[in-house]
Symmetry: C2
Subunit: 299 residues, 2 copies
């Protein structure tokens, strides 16, 4: 959980709620599932933000507050095409002392989603689970591949679904072909590989099967921050709600995930996720349906 | 119609059949439609190549042979990622004197596909049509935008479907957003806009409707030459066979088009298109079906 300062070609904001856990939880809370967050914040974290999350039935009993500490802060500027960004400032603050503790009530959780963070933190969460979750989903990014590769390599085999973007998949495997990269990642352990391609959608790989979901073509992308987190949060929640772990269920989950990402990029920070209605979500799912459905004569 | 010399990271070939008309006609000839080509060649053009095309029921009576002339020659090298290429040599040869003549029997054709060529040649074909075709489809590229912009701007309003790639759509409209670019192109005249995104698939725009077809994720792309031409050739032929011009029919046509492109890139030049079977095509269409179909509860 974090505070961000964000500049886009359209606007800027000096302090807005952020952090992967926030986006994941907000996206997941759109469905009728138990959402429980493990994170760390400083006592500067605003009560109104905690309240907003609690009102959405997000269980924050795994969120540690450090007295006198400051919440993680990230500041970045998006360039004109919104596909690239420059990090202006990163203040780890309380994150430097993060030692995630899984509340006893959660140690048998069926689905564990490891947000994009230090692989040592991700491993520490898995270590505390007293029964093997039905599904472990993990997000990560190039930073951990560059600087924590061995720690990352130790967590990846413990994961069922690895969710990364195309450039990260190429970096992780040294393969240019995403099909080859996904095969190699499956050899590392994860049985399912999701490769996010931003405005070009996402691919899901499992053995010889592939599924491709488009991103919704949007006239304007306002702020891409948190799109990947909302995506993976929506993905996990959809699977939790259906209760089925299968390639077929994951296809639908990825479409739901893409819908969540499409909402996120339409406004600054997580604002759009805070005010979504069931009707808006259904409308968007229909848009995805129309975007992709076709009939062709198959002999 | 042309001869190409192609270098890829995997292999090279000094002389292979090429040219947009060749790829278009070969892709179109997979379906049971009348395919008629207007082009120009030198007398160096091999009889075996003409014979191969004729055997596929491609009508070459619009192909002019220049005695003592040399066929258009292009030579290029693809870089490691296969997304970029360097043109090594372009010998226009007989193309310099190309003045397309539409055989009288074809002047009432229902579907006219203007391959990627000088917009003056494209206009000359339209000028010779004695009745307005049901559908005019046009492909073009950045070269004509750079050097023949006013000629290009004169043809675009006469076209129903403009088929270009993402970078070209951005260049043509000075819009970064493809949604905005497609809207602006529709304002120029074409009621339908297809934006090709290579390995990321293709988008079809018409009024407020959008359709997105993925590209088939391939382990290895052997030679991208002609993929866009095969795409548009398959698109036109599919519409000709169904006999319906509508957004729904175009969705299916784009999937068929993507299948044709996916075959083309698997081998050097047009080789794969020369030996396709109905069974292989059906198999690939099923792969596209599986790649994209999902079920999600829609209220």
């Amino acid at each position: 959980m974090a505070y961000d300062a964000i500049e886009t070609p359209f606007d800027k904001v000096d302090k807005i709620l952020g952090g992967c856990a926030t986006y994941i939880a907000l996206a997941a809370s759109q469905l009728d599932v138990e959402v429980s967050v493990i994170s760390i914040i400083g006592d500067d974290f605003e009560e109104a933000h905690l309240e907003m999350l609690r009102k959405r039935n997000i269980d924050l009993s795994g969120v540690e507050t450090i007295a006198g500490g400051k919440t993680f802060f990230w500041s970045g500027r998006y360039h004109n095409d919104l596909n690239t960004r420059t990090t202006l400032q990163t203040d780890l603050n309380v994150l430097m002392q993060f030692d995630p503790k899984v509340p006893t009530a959660w140690t048998k959780s069926e689905i564990v989603l490891l947000g994009n963070l230090n692989p040592l933190n991700q491993a520490a969460v898995l270590d505390q689970m007293t029964s093997r979750p039905k599904l472990v989903i993990m997000d990560t990014m190039n930073y951990w591949m560059d600087s924590f590769r061995s720690e990352l390599d130790a967590v990846i085999p413990r994961v069922d679904v690895l969710c990364i973007n195309d450039e990260e998949a190429r970096q992780l495997t040294a393969q240019n072909s995403l099909v080859k990269a996904a095969k190699m990642i499956q050899q590392m352990g994860p049985k399912y590989v999701i490769i996010k391609k931003g405005e070009h959608g996402a691919l899901l790989f499992h053995k010889e099967e592939v599924f491709c979901a488009p991103a919704l073509p949007l006239e304007e992308i306002f702020d891409p921050t948190g799109a990947g987190d909302s995506f993976v949060g929506g993905f996990a929640a959809y699977l939790a709600q259906t209760g089925t772990i299968s390639f077929e269920a994951m296809k639908s989950a990825i479409v739901y995930a893409s819908a969540m990402a499409s909402f996120t990029v339409e406004k600054f920070g997580p604002q759009n996720l805070e005010t979504l209605t069931e009707e808006k979500i259904q409308q968007r799912l229909r848009a995805f349906d129309q975007l992709t459905k076709f009939e062709i004569d198959l002999a």
